[in-house]
């Protein structure tokens, strides 16, 4: 288990205070804007000063055990190849070809970062971190700006990256597709820690009768489905809105 006990903030003001244990595998870290997700990842990674205890199976995590993807990190005036070379040399990247191939970066190497689209720049930023071989990966919105192709590729790789992967997202479908564990923050405190399936909450039901489509939210899905059917509706989709609620 990865044990986190962190209290961090800026200019003496505590922004996040979290104690949690996370099992091996992929964990989604969710919460509304300003809930402390980025600060928590920064603190766990050691990028900012914090009261911090991070252990794997009772052993403290060393600085070279963690790979951390922040927002940004590349100089818009520099070429992609120069930036990657700088980081990989300083950080000791061990699987450069894997990252370049996964993120399809060969053609972008000679271009300036500032000339890239947001999604292309994010692929280059991801390559910095995915080329590292570490035990724990902390990825702050790794899917931000990626198109469907690369989004699928990155989500598919998360499980293979390392022993523990924690990523933040505002996308419930990404949680569903990749996460075996969920951490939710609200106001800098832990609001939920557990498997996504353990969330009890409201469900959204989409049903149709002829050309009329209705979407109903309820916390008693079985009864509502029966009721809609008795009224002549055919139920098209039943999905949990619990993860979405944690993101609001």
């Amino acid at each position: 288990m990865l044990a986190l006990d962190v209290s961090a903030g800026y200019r003496g003001r505590t922004v996040v205070e979290v104690s949690a244990s996370v099992p091996p595998g992929v964990t989604a870290l969710v919460g509304p804007n300003g809930s402390g997700k980025t600060t928590l990842l920064r603190a766990v990674a050691g990028a900012i000063p914090a009261r911090r205890r991070v252990e794997v199976d009772g052993r403290p995590l060393g600085p070279r055990d963690v790979a951390y993807l922040p927002h940004g990190g590349l100089d818009p005036n520099a070429r992609v190849g120069d930036e990657l070379e700088f980081y990989w040399e300083v950080l000791g990247a061990e699987r450069r070809d894997y990252a370049v191939d996964l993120l399809d970066l060969k053609e972008l190497m000679g271009r300036k970062v500032g000339e890239l689209s947001r999604g292309q720049a994010r692929r280059a930023e991801l390559a910095v971190v995915l080329a590292l071989r570490r035990r724990v990966y902390l990825l702050d919105e790794p899917l931000e700006g990626l198109d469907v192709q690369y989004r699928g590729a990155v989500l598919g790789e998360l499980r293979r990256l390392g022993e523990y992967v924690i990523f933040t997202t505002h996308d419930p479908s990404a949680v569903e597709a990749a996460a075996g564990w969920l951490l939710a923050l609200r106001g800098g405190r832990l609001a939920y820690s557990g498997p996504p399936s353990g969330l009890k909450g409201r469900v959204a039901i989409r049903a149709r009768k002829g050309g009329e489509v209705v979407t109903v939210e309820t916390d008693r899905p079985e009864e509502k489905v029966e009721e809609l059917r008795s009224l002549g509706y055919s139920v098209e989709e039943v999905r949990s809105t619990a993860v979405e609620e944690l993101m609001r």
Binding site: G46, I48, G62, H71
Partner: protein
């Protein structure tokens, strides 16, 4: 670890402040070359207020030596500003672009970053110092060989000016990066960080002014050597202290 930082600082410092670097570099060259025009204007018969007992020839040699010392320091301020801009420009850009957050979050120690930046900044200082020293040295050798004995003191003062600027800009960049912001005063706009980094060189330059009147070359050299040694010693202390007092939070949160 040093080499990637050397390459990065020279590359990004150049790309962010290319125009300013060119202007500062040109200024340093102009100051050095202005010595070629100023020195011939000093003639024994033009020197007034020669202290009793001093021959006009000796007074002339001392006047030229004090001018050489002063112009050397003025030239070194141009070199110092250029070197500070190479390192400071890179630090400013890297804070804004989140480079230190990427490095610190992936296990790079603050001390490693500080050492890399100090090495890069000192490399810029060394290159520009040698260029300024060569320019001044050539002018003195050609036009005022009698002033050559003052060159070791001038070289030391120039070194102190350039090195203290190079160390100060890294110290400020890693401890109080907010000083890179522009400050406006009465009729002036200045970048506080660069202004502070030039302060030792400017102080050295102004310390020479009282010696013009009395032609006290011995006093000028003694003051230049004493102040330069103090500035170099202080720079060494700051260089050692920088990794210890660098502010991790500011390097990460200033980007926002």
């Amino acid at each position: 670890m040093m080499r990637p930082f050397l390459r990065r600082v020279w590359r990004s410092g150049r790309s962010y402040y290319g125009a300013n670097l060119a202007v500062n570099g040109a200024l340093a060259v102009i100051i050095a070359l202005s010595a070629a025009f100023l020195i011939p204007l000093i003639r024994p018969e033009n020197i007034r207020g020669i202290p009793p007992g001093m021959s006009p020839q000796l007074a002339y040699e001392r006047a030229v030596a004090v001018v050489v010392l002063t112009l050397s320091l003025a030239s070194s301020i141009g070199a110092s500003a250029t070197a500070a801009m190479v390192a400071g420009g890179s630090i400013q850009a890297d804070i804004r672009n989140g480079v230190y957050e990427m490095l610190l979050g992936n296990g790079v120690e603050l001390a490693q970053i500080a050492r890399g930046l100090l090495a890069a900044s000192l490399s810029a200082a060394a290159a520009l110092y040698l260029a300024a020293l060569a320019a001044i040295g050539a002018v003195v050798a050609l036009e005022a060989p009698a002033a050559m004995p003052v060159m070791p003191a001038a070289a030391l003062a120039m070194l102190a000016s350039v090195v203290s600027g190079a160390v100060l800009i890294v110290f400020i960049g890693l401890t109080k990066p907010e000083l890179f912001k522009m400050a406006t005063g009465v009729g002036a706009t200045k970048n506080v960080a660069y202004t502070i980094s030039l302060a030792p060189g400017v102080a050295l330059l102004f310390s020479m002014l009282p010696f013009f009147g009395g032609l006290d070359l011995g006093g000028a050299v003694a003051v230049a050597v004493a102040l330069s040694s103090a500035a170099l010693a202080l720079s060494a202390v700051l260089a050692v202290a920088t990794p210890r007092v660098a502010n991790r939070e500011k390097l990460v949160s200033q980007a926002e």
